[in-house]
Symmetry: C2
Subunit: 218 residues, 2 copies
C-alpha cells in the first residue's frame, strides 16, 4: 500500500519530521512532478544538461516529500475508516512518485549524452516556446524586485514558472514573489525572449525596456 | 532498450502500421500523457469517475502510439549511429509510457472507489480551477462552431483543453477547430464557468451571453 523506500534515501541531507497537512504535501508533490515533466522534455529536446540537473534536484525533493507523506499518513490514521481513505492518498502519492521517476529517467538520458535523434529535435527547435534556466547575478536589475513589477510577460514574452532557492522550490510563483541574488529561475517563452531573459538575469542587460522602475539600474 | 510489450495489447482494435514521423508520434505521446496527468489528478481530487474513464481511454491511445513508435524506430535505424540516436528516443518514449501508466493508476483508484480522504479534497474544492468533461448534444449551440468563435475564455472563463472524437484525441485544439455533435470536450475553468459550460454543451443553455453569432440558437 505504501511506496517502497528508495535506496538513495541516505542521500537526503536531513529528513526532519515536521508536521504538515497531507493535502499540502500532496499538492506540492503534484506541482513539482508536473514541473519535472515539463523540464525533462525540454532538457531532452534541446539537449540542455542544466535543465536535466534541475530535474534530478527536483526528484530528490519529491522523494523527500513522499517519505514525509508516508510518515504523516501513518500518524494521521486513527481508525479503519481513516486508514482506508488515506490509502487512496498513499496510492496517488505513489503514482506521483512514479511520474517523478520517469521524468528523472529522461533527465538521466540527457546527462549521459545518449542524445535524441536530430529528426526529433528539429521540429522542437521551431516550436514557439522554450524553457530555460538562469541564475540571477547579484548585479542583475532583477534582484530585490517582485515578479509582477518586472512585467516580463508583457515586455519580453517570458513567464517565470519556477524558482529554485538553494534546496527550496517555488512552483508557479506569485506576482508578489521577490527575486533574490543566486536564485535559479526557470522560465518559459519565445526563443528570443528567453535569450533576453538570460541576459537580464545574468546582469548583461541592465534595462528591461519599458519597465517603469528600472531607474535602479546603473 | 525498447519497452516491453503490454499484456493488454490484444485489446487494441487494430494497430495498423501507418508510417508517421518519429517526432510526430513522440510529440503526440508527450501531449497525451501530460493531459492524462491533469485529468487524473482532477479525477482523484473531485472523485470524478467520468474523467477517470477518459484517462483510461487516453492510456490505450498512448500504448498504441508506443507500439507504433517502436516499429517506426526499428524501421528507421539503418546503421549503428542511427540506432544509438534512436535509442535515446526509445528511452524518452519509455518514460512517457511510464508517466501514462502512473496517471492510469490514479484513474483506477477513482474507478475502484477507494476514495481520497476528505481533508485532501477540501482544499481542492476551493481551488480556482476545475477540469470537467461534457458531451456535446446535437441541439447544443456549440455544434458546427469554431472554438475561437465561441469565445468561451472571455465570456465564461473556460478553456477547452482537449476534444475526444470517437477514438481520436485533439489536445490543445486550435481556435479554428470546429465542434461536432457527440464530441467529448475536456475543459478547464472556474467552478461557475464549468457549470455553465456543461449546460451549454448539453444544450440546456441556448445562448452564450455576449457571443455575437448566437442568432443560430433557437
Amino acid at each position: 500500500m505504501f511506496r517502497e523506500l528508495k535506496i538513495e534515501m541516505p542521500e537526503f541531507e536531513k529528513v526532519e519530521y515536521k508536521p504538515k497537512p497531507v493535502r499540502e504535501i500532496l499538492l506540492e508533490m503534484k506541482n513539482l512532478s508536473e514541473l519535472m515533466i515539463d523540464l525533462a522534455y525540454s532538457a531532452a529536446l534541446f539537449n540542455d544538461k542544466e535543465l536535466a540537473e534541475e530535474v534530478l534536484e527536483l526528484e530528490k525533493k519529491v522523494d523527500t516529500l513522499a517519505y514525509l507523506l508516508d510518515m504523516t499518513i501513518m500518524i494521521a490514521a486513527r481508525n479503519a475508516e481513516d486508514a482506508e481513505a488515506l490509502a487512496g492518498v498513499a496510492k496517488v502519492a505513489g503514482a506521483t512518485d512514479k511520474i517523478s521517476d520517469a521524468a528523472a529517467d529522461i533527465a538521466t538520458i540527457v546527462k549521459q549524452n545518449i542524445g535524441i535523434h536530430p529528426i526529433v529535435t528539429k521540429i522542437f527547435e521551431q516550436a514557439e516556446e522554450h524553457i530555460a534556466r538562469a541564475r540571477v547575478d547579484e548585479k542583475s536589475v532583477m534582484v530585490g524586485k517582485k515578479i509582477g513589477k518586472l512585467n516580463l510577460t508583457a515586455k519580453i514574452g517570458v513567464d517565470i514558472i519556477a524558482i529554485r532557492r538553494g534546496r527550496d522550490w517555488i512552483v508557479k510563483p506569485s506576482d508578489d514573489e521577490k527575486i533574490l541574488a543566486d536564485d535559479i529561475l526557470i522560465a518559459r517563452g519565445t526563443p528570443l525572449g528567453i535569450s533576453k531573459f538570460r541576459d537580464i538575469a545574468e546582469g548583461k542587460i541592465k534595462r528591461i525596456v519599458g519597465v517603469k522602475d528600472d531607474a535602479t539600474a546603473k
